[in-house]
């Protein structure tokens, strides 16, 4: 039994239920762009270009992700993802890796620019909030959704270059993964919410009220960094190029897929087309409201 979903504007045909995604509502006769197959995945690739215990890139450009005891995911040709679920958890944790790293590998194979960022619609513009793991992207995104801004994606913001100038955001799905400490600090009730993993008090929130799956032009990028503040400062286009490159999602795989020059050109095009800001703040919950307000000021309605 297969279902058709939409993800980043693609028609995704899947053997496995993907409840994070909206059902496909595009043309009924459109061919699937991406196929998710539930089937066996080998433990390793036959011909390896980039070795690794848990992540391998094949000489044919396929990428294998192994999460030991949980799932193996093979991404091929930018179109086909095979998922071998090794252990069923009530939380269906394998989907975290399919819709995280798996999506990133797919983007690199398709020549897109996946940014390690959440994205939201703020003041009518699509804004990416980039940052390394643990810096507070999801926490800030939650605060922004509470202020009425629509969530477009959580951990990966997929960007496609527009002919001419700039890039467009391909909205993924509206989900935030939040730790219990964060929810308590922000007064969000965790009772009844599903956990992302059985053994962790990290919850799966679906703030989908403002989600719109239609692609739209990227309006700007905010890069989060720990520091004094909160303070928002504009980054020059020249400085923004390496900054954006530093937040490419799963960069080593991209490198081995021959994407280095392409990603540089794309980062340069994005930096030329939209404002890039650096938002520094101490990692404390009491600086969150001021940080969200600074983003709203930078992207007024």
């Amino acid at each position: 039994m297969t279902e058709d979903y939409q993800l980043c504007g693609w028609r995704v045909r899947s053997d496995l239920p993907l409840p994070e995604l909206r059902p496909w509502i595009g043309p009924a006769d459109a061919l699937p762009d991406v196929t998710v197959i539930h089937g066996p995945v080998p433990d390793r690739l036959e011909s390896v270009a980039l070795p690794g215990t848990y992540r391998m890139v094949g000489t044919d450009g396929s990428v294998l992700l192994r999460i030991e005891g949980l799932v193996r995911i093979l991404v091929q040709g930018g179109t086909t993802i095979t998922v071998d679920i090794l252990r069923r958890e009530a939380t269906e944790a394998w989907r975290l890796f399919l819709l995280g790293s798996g999506l990133g590998f797919l983007c690199h194979q398709r020549g897109l620019f996946p940014l390690h960022a959440a994205s939201l619609r703020i003041g009518g513009r699509m804004v990416a909030v980039a940052g390394h793991t643990g810096i507070g992207k999801s926490t800030l995104a939650l605060e922004l959704t509470r202020r009425g801004h629509g969530l477009l994606s959580d951990d990966v913001t997929v960007l496609r270059m527009l002919p001419g100038a700039g890039a467009e955001v391909l909205p993924a799905f509206p989900r935030l993964k939040l730790w219990r400490d964060t929810m308590d600090a922000l007064g969000v009730d965790a009772s009844g919410l599903p956990r992302v993993r059985e053994d962790m008090e990290k919850y799966d929130l679906r703030p989908d009220a403002g989600f719109d799956p239609a692609p739209g032009p990227l309006g700007g990028v905010v890069v989060l960094r720990e520091g004094p503040g909160p303070v928002l400062s504009a980054v020059s286009a020249a400085a923004a190029v390496p900054l954006l490159q530093g937040f490419v999602f799963r960069p080593r795989v991209a490198l081995h897929l021959g994407r280095q020059a392409g990603l540089f050109a794309q980062a340069a095009a994005i930096a030329r087309a939209v404002p890039v800001y650096r938002l520094e703040r101490p990692k404390r919950f009491d600086t969150l409201v001021a940080a969200a307000a600074l983003i709203e000021e930078a992207f007024p309605s």
Binding site: I67, L70, A93, S101, W179, D199
Partner: protein, 275 residues
């Protein structure tokens, strides 16, 4: 010599000092760049390092899964080779599952009088000295276990202070160089020469002298004051606090000092600390 070395210790025992010395010796006796320390001599429990080496996300892995990927990261990092030694900082008790012997060339174990560790460790954890002493005496003590919030480090099974020391000194799988903080203070040149030799670094006496000077406590304190140190916990005033040995004589109450001796007497004797 090449190969992987674990730079092991209980926290606040001089591990960072030794890492700075190693980093300096590896970079032509340069002044310590605290911002680069996590790259030159990373922490084996750092998520950022695990993600860098293994190229997988760790944010949705459970504590048990994180514990299982740590030895794999050591193995993959060791396999990257290089001409010089690779040094990995750890605070865990020795456990062959976490530290597979075939991966490493050796281990440097840094030890400091636990009575001097206690106030510094309490400050680091933002708890009282009494609580720090209690944790140092707790068998099987685990640092950083959290299922409710993000931690930049995985959990670390540190054990009690005595367990930590003996786990490394009593294992026979890899050769161990024992460095006492107090000896490093008293004879930095001699001890750093031993360190360089153990790591197989062909460092000339002049460069050892320069590395020692570059890593003087005041120099590390000044480097932190000017550029900060990312390994300093939030809320702690500074990472490099006192850099003294024997300060417990003024800082600890008699009862506190007696509690440490009662908890760790056998190991104090073994390491020639007065009782």
């Amino acid at each position: 010599m090449s190969g992987l070395f674990w730079i092991a210790s209980y926290p606040k025992s001089g591990n960072t000092w030794v890492r700075c010395l190693v980093a300096s010796l590896l970079t032509g006796a340069a002044a310590p760049d605290l911002a680069a320390l996590g790259r030159i001599c990373p922490s084996g429990s750092s998520r950022a390092w695990l993600e860098e080496v293994l190229d997988i996300p760790t944010e949705d892995l459970t504590p048990d899964e994180l514990a299982r990927i740590r030895p794999v990261a050591s193995r993959e990092w060791a396999a990257t080779g290089g001409t010089g030694p690779l040094c990995l900082k750890v605070h865990d008790c020795h456990d062959p599952r976490l530290f597979p012997p075939d991966v490493a060339t050796g281990a440097v174990y840094v030890v400091r009088d636990p009575r001097d560790v206690a106030p510094s460790w309490g400050d680091h954890m933002n708890v009282s000295v009494d609580e720090a002493i209690a944790r140092m005496g707790r068998p099987g003590f685990i640092l950083g276990r959290s299922i409710r919030g993000f931690r930049s480090q995985t959990e670390q099974v540190m054990g009690s202070w005595s367990e930590n020391v003996t786990s490394w000194l009593d294992q026979t799988a890899v050769p161990v160089l024992l460095l006492r903080y107090e000896d490093l203070m008293a004879d930095p040149l001699g001890e750093t020469t031993r360190l360089a030799a153990f790591l197989g670094l062909a460092a000339a006496p002049e460069s050892i002298t320069r590395a020692v000077a570059a890593c003087r406590f005041e120099a590390l304190q000044a480097a932190e004051a000017s550029g900060g140190f990312s390994e300093k916990p939030d809320g702690m005033e500074r990472f490099f606090r006192q850099g003294r040995s024997g300060a417990w004589r003024e800082g600890l109450s008699q009862a506190q000092a007696a509690r440490v001796v009662a908890d760790h007497g056998a190991v104090l004797t073994r390491l020639s600390y007065e009782r």
